[in-house]
Symmetry: C2
């Protein structure tokens, strides 16, 4: 990116549990230089902060003009007032006044927000959500999260935690979720849940799970959601049954959200959708069966477009919107 | 109401399946003259329209000044652009250009909206939702509906059908709902569902349902949600078990909405809540167990305040907001 010529730009940073992704992003959502670095969450907050700072400094170095600001997306609960990180379970952070610290260290305006909310913003501004004033995004990775635009505004909620779509109950007596509740969408259709259900099936009946076990070097704990998706693509009946259940659970969850929020467009993204793109079609079919006709007649269900970059682009764009 | 002295006022009309309620409402939400009249839905759209028109004319007659406008709340799907009624199942209406017709007949501005959305607005402006920028209302009557205020704005959705909270799935394989889906909140916790579940239990084991049958003159089809609530208050174990299930289903449903939307306040209203006010406490307990701590720590769960009048007051207030 020729940041000298292009005018406004910002740095977007997506802080994941394993890697930090950061990039120069211009006002049209175009990505310039991009850096990936391990998060090193085990090193504690100090190590992670040092890594984030160094990535940002690298991106500042070759830029001709200073950025409007820096946007950071993190999985966690962020204080809407001062951007401090109340709780980021992936990183083991509790009450870190990160936004303020980083702004001081960089002498630049910094905006910290929830990573999935940033990704929703990214898809809305530059991805498959463009031009849509009532948008729902559901990201199905290890866990499930999302975001909603309603009447042209990103919903944040009372304490900045709106969009926890992985924790809507779709099966009152269903599988236990990491959150302690039962039958959450995430506990039935998230990547972790897919792997666990496959491993449970393999434990119950190793012969039925022969293909899954073979694909994971015979080690049950190596059966991941990716392995299940791959096995289903190869026609394995157990894997396909599991993925069918995932499609049905996602349909029930999306139907709930469609009835509650009546979006014009619903985007599905995240690793589980990326691994089985056909899920988008199946959810589309399922939602049209399950949800109310007034809500589905104006609804589009589409794959998200920006992939892993939604968070980086969205964080940068949020910073630009805020600090222009 | 001294409409001469009080300045701005409007007529609010709540068109139910059995009765029309209408009143003069001033800008502070105070109700002046009020009229109730049977809807006579069996007479078809023409009869109902005549009844609505006559109620409004009665309310105009003794008013010293003309109202800002007329607000009409109806159970149904209303076109956001021209207020025509696409579908009102209670009344058997399909594609009635009612807003335009009524405005012409009255020579007054008319605003037609969904009844539950109007009630949400009423509770927000003048009831238990006052001062709350992120509000959720759930009305549990024969069916279940609701509305949400997010960031100080009433959510309407893409085709004006947001707030169908009765049709979020809480039990994927649960009871069949009137909407055709399975395990909707309404199919487990709405008044109709309570009555049906009680009747099913009575059919299965009349001796266990002795109290319920006695309270309904021995006629199974006369076991209503009200009868179940009354029997539970009298200590009947079957009725109390049913109401416990209702509390759990409502908790699961409200927890889903709390996780998704992160409201500051959630109001529970409608006949089922009115008949068993203790449900508010039970849902409060259940939601705090089920939903995520970041979303519940700032949450209040309270009974709605305006009762049957929420729709009338809300419709009038929406008309005043629109036509001031």
């Amino acid at each position: 990116m020729d940041v000298n010529a292009s005018g406004a730009w910002a740095i977007g940073v997506d802080v994941g549990g394993t890697k930090i992704e950061a990039a120069q992003v211009d006002a049209t959502g175009k990505i310039g230089r991009m850096i990936r670095r391990p998060t090193e969450a085990r090193g504690g907050p100090k190590a992670v902060k040092t890594n984030i700072l160094s990535v940002i400094k690298d991106l500042l170095q070759d830029a001709g003009s200073p950025p409007s600001g820096v946007g950071i997306g993190m999985a966690g609960q962020i204080d809407p007032k001062d951007g401090s990180v109340h709780f980021a379970p992936n990183l083991g952070w509790r009450d870190e006044p990160f936004q303020e610290e980083l702004a001081r260290a960089l002498s630049l305006p910094v905006f910290v927000t929830n990573d999935v909310r940033a990704a929703t913003w990214g898809e809305w501004k530059y991805g498959a959500g463009q031009g849509c004033e009532d948008l729902l995004c559901l990201f199905v990775g290890t866990g499930i999260g999302g975001g909603a635009i309603s009447g042209g505004r990103l919903l944040s909620g009372c304490s900045n935690s709106a969009g926890e779509f992985g924790h809507i109950t779709i099966s009152q007596e269903g599988r236990l979720c990491q959150c302690g509740n039962r039958g959450c969408l995430e506990a039935l259709a998230g990547g972790r849940a897919i792997a666990e259900q496959a491993q449970e099936a393999a434990r119950m009946d190793p012969s039925e799970a022969a293909v899954l076990l073979q694909m994971s070097e015979g080690q049950m704990e190596k059966i991941t959601a990716q392995v299940v998706a791959q096995a289903c693509r190869a026609g394995d009946p157990l894997a396909c049954r599991l993925m069918e259940g995932v499609g049905e659970s996602l349909s029930a969850g999306v139907a709930s959200l469609v009835n509650a929020l009546n979006p014009c467009r619903c985007l599905l993204g995240g690793g589980v959708i990326g691994g089985t793109p056909d899920l988008v079609r199946r959810v589309d079919e399922g939602v049209r069966k399950r949800a109310l006709p007034p809500a589905t007649k104006t609804l589009q269900i589409l794959p998200a477009q920006l992939g892993d970059l939604a968070g980086v682009v969205g964080s940068a764009s949020l910073a630009m919107t805020r600090f222009k």
